[in-house]
Amino acid sequence: MKFQTPAGHNPIDRMSVVGQPLDRIDGPLKTTGTAPYAYEQHDAAPDAAYGHVVGAGIAKGRIRRLDIKAAERAPGVLAVITADTAGPLEVGPHNTVPLLGGPEIRHYHQAVALVVAESFEAARAAAGRVRIEYEAHAGAYDLEAARTTATAPEANAQMGEPDTQVGDFLGAFADAPVRLDETYTTPDQSHMMMEPHASIARWDDGTLTLWTSTQMVEWCARGIAKTLRMDRSKVHVISPYIGGGFGGKLFLRADALLAALGARATGRPVKVALHRPLIANNSTHRPATIQRVRLGATRDGVITAIGHESWSGDQPGGGPETAVSQTRLLYAGANRLTAMRLAVLDLPEGNSMRAPGEAPGMMALEIAMDEMAEKLRLDPVEFRIRNDTQVDPENPERPFSARPLITCLQTGAAQFGWQRRDARPGRVKDGQWLVGLGMAAAFRNNLPMTSGARVRLDGDGRITVETDMTDIGTGSYTIIAQTAAEMMGVRMDQVEVRLGDSTYPVSAGSGGQFGANNATSGVYAACIGLREEVARRLGFNSQDADFADGQVRSGNRSAPLASAAARGEIVAEDRIEYGDLHKTHQQSTFGSHFVEVAVDGATGEVRVRRMLAVCAAGRILNPKSARSQVIGAMTMGVGAALMEHLKVDTRRGFFVNHDLASYEVPVHADIPHQEVIFLDETDPMSSPMKAKGVGELGICGVAAAVANAIYNATGVRVRDYPITLDTYLDRLPDVA
């Protein structure tokens, strides 16, 4: 089905199942520990051997000598895989650096060996007996130091142009009566999903089956096929449950490749989980940025010049963190400039983490907006409202498909009690605590992606949906069942959803908050095909047939849905594809974040007391699971504001705090009750579901709202994330 014209009235509009806050259908399995994740497929691979990964001990250089003899002789060891013995390997389409290093080493903890043994304990012990001598080379590990060497990255579809200009930014900025020119930094961050990257590989007659934890089943399948130089059709990827990803499991990683190599070498299934201390440096991360924001405005708060430049680094062949992308679309302003510069760094490879681009970009832009509002003596909510735009500011011919940013801001302000905020910082005390309120806008684009599905109707009237879509905690199982139930007019318990298997039609997968809208639209398309076939078999006109309560009705005729499949199962398959609507209309999601913090006047300890997000993201397919996506993103936003920081050892070139104790993420005690409001919105330009994404909108702006609240509480402005005690303790106001 090609989606080329705005959606009219369709069966989803009934909203009898879609749009309802239903419990997740995978809940009983997940809460009882009976949902099998990648490493737990004992039935599929009962005789699996265990692989343990050895990571490189230097950041850049060569292996001079790799001695695996002692490891091979260790008890229980079946094989030791290295680049020497693995056979020829290519680099997968999404990978920047080879997943198995040697002799050249490209980054710290790049995998250099896999030790396969009869038991986990034996594999781990033997891995400690691999002896490696390195020849370390000098590398670049410090973004600030490499900043002057950064160059404009090549334009591509995902990133757009590295430089954009509208009007005369420099002239307008110079002429503006009120100006802001500040630089902000965001650190390297780690996804730290709770389930480590994990895979089991099994070979049967040249066909590889991989039980793995991946967000994008097809990307993983293509990645392993390319890397092993084999036919894509000889790869079967299975990923029914994924213990979190956040961008860290978008494509083939070392666990899957090494499990496949280990299984090929031993003739046994092999299971590999990256051990936690390896993950931060072995896998991908969100790259650090340096961002300069310049704003020029008239005295009454109309932005006349808006400029945003960002510097980031990556491995040779890698890409930039696209931190300026929201600034091209979020606020009005006749004169505009954005620029991205990319330095070559020899740190582990950078890649997507929840809302790549916008998450760190909004961390800078939304502090800048707060600072500018203060210079203008304007309320920060009002300042944003004054600079709203209903069209793409770079191309006014192009309207937004829907853009209720002002409603998000006003609803949030009213709900949060924003009018009680004292704009003068450091004025509100609660015992030992300095209390402040902060806010930020939220923004993230909607991405249309082709997505396929197959639906089956059996003689009992049951519907089965098959798609290689994944559920990484996002609620895919549930919203797909809701879509099929609504389309076919059956109860939720009459729908079975099968996900995460590369033998099913290729879906959008989970990433970029594009999963829910596209995957359900693919299911919608397949269900339209199934409805037509059902109507044909029943002799009804498919155009006016109504599917509800297990019945199909047309005019005054009616038949049970199941009767259409009385002579055999009916199967329909289709995919959603998109025309030009996202080109003629800018499709984005909007929101606002409001935060109250308390800062201990003596110790500087920050406590987040209240949080509210207001989101406009098209139709909300399931308000319960969508709300969870948003509170989860808000939580990660608090982490970004206050603690998350992969610390770089700039001499030896690695992330020092590479485990879950030293890379701090929010815990229960850090997070208050969180409120989420969804605006009632349907976007007929986005898809037949009229939905957009929400899982990343929820993180965009949160960290800045926290930073702005800390400023309001204390009068201390911190422009370098995360806002830890050492960045402001000496600047706290004197305690009386």
Partner: protein, 198 residues
């Protein structure tokens, strides 16, 4: 292909170069242990290096208990041993001879949910589900601990019975990381169960 790499200890021993036998200290030591898991006795023969977590997951195939870090940093492996919650990655299986162990599988099943499991579902106190068994085991134990009058870091008056406040629950649950960030919903689920009990 990777033929040379497949050479294990045996293959090397057959080679021309006589391979020295591994030093004694390398040979794994196995030991028998009886674990009473969810009311059923299991007799296991394990490598003494096997953590209680791996004994459950890899030997008994009770994979509801999760491995997030294997270092006591995340809480995904939380189980109850003789009524007390512990991180099962931080203890060896052979240290638990005869101990009564309760895992998530012992609390309830999809058809017969424990009230805490049901509350997690109705409050959507999870997303990816990987921290969830640990959260639920911890939550059950937290209510027991509060019931027993055990104070926490945030208990204002340690001579009085600790309250079932959200702050008490948050503090006590803080060893269980949820990277999906379901905390706000988890607290609501636990509070509901606590209220039902109180």
């Amino acid at each position: 292909m990777a033929g040379s790499a497949t050479a294990g200890a045996q293959a090397l021993a057959k080679g021309s170069e006589p391979a020295p036998s591994p030093p004694r200290s390398l040979e794994p030591v196995h030991s028998r242990v009886r674990l009473r898991v969810n009311g059923t006795d299991h007799d296991l023969e394990v490598d003494t290096r096997t953590s209680l977590l791996d004994a459950l997951r890899e030997h008994l195939h009770l994979t509801g208990t999760k491995k997030g870090c294997d270092h006591g940093q995340c809480g995904a492996c939380t189980i109850m041993v003789d009524g007390q919650r512990i991180n099962s990655c931080l203890t060896l299986a052979v240290m638990h001879e005869g101990d009564a162990i309760t895992t998530i599988e012992g609390l309830g099943t999809p058809d017969k949910l424990h009230p805490m499991q049901a509350a997690f579902i109705s409050h959507d106190g999870y997303q990816c589900g990987y921290c969830t068994p640990g959260q639920i085991c911890s939550a059950v134990a937290v209510l027991e601990e509060i019931g027993q009058g055990i104070p926490s870091h945030v208990t204002a008056d340690i001579s009085a019975a600790p309250s079932l406040s959200a702050d008490e629950i948050r503090e006590r649950m803080s060893g269980n990381i949820c990277r999906c960030g379901a905390y706000s919903n988890i607290i609501e689920a636990i509070t509901e169960v606590a209220g039902r009990r109180a």
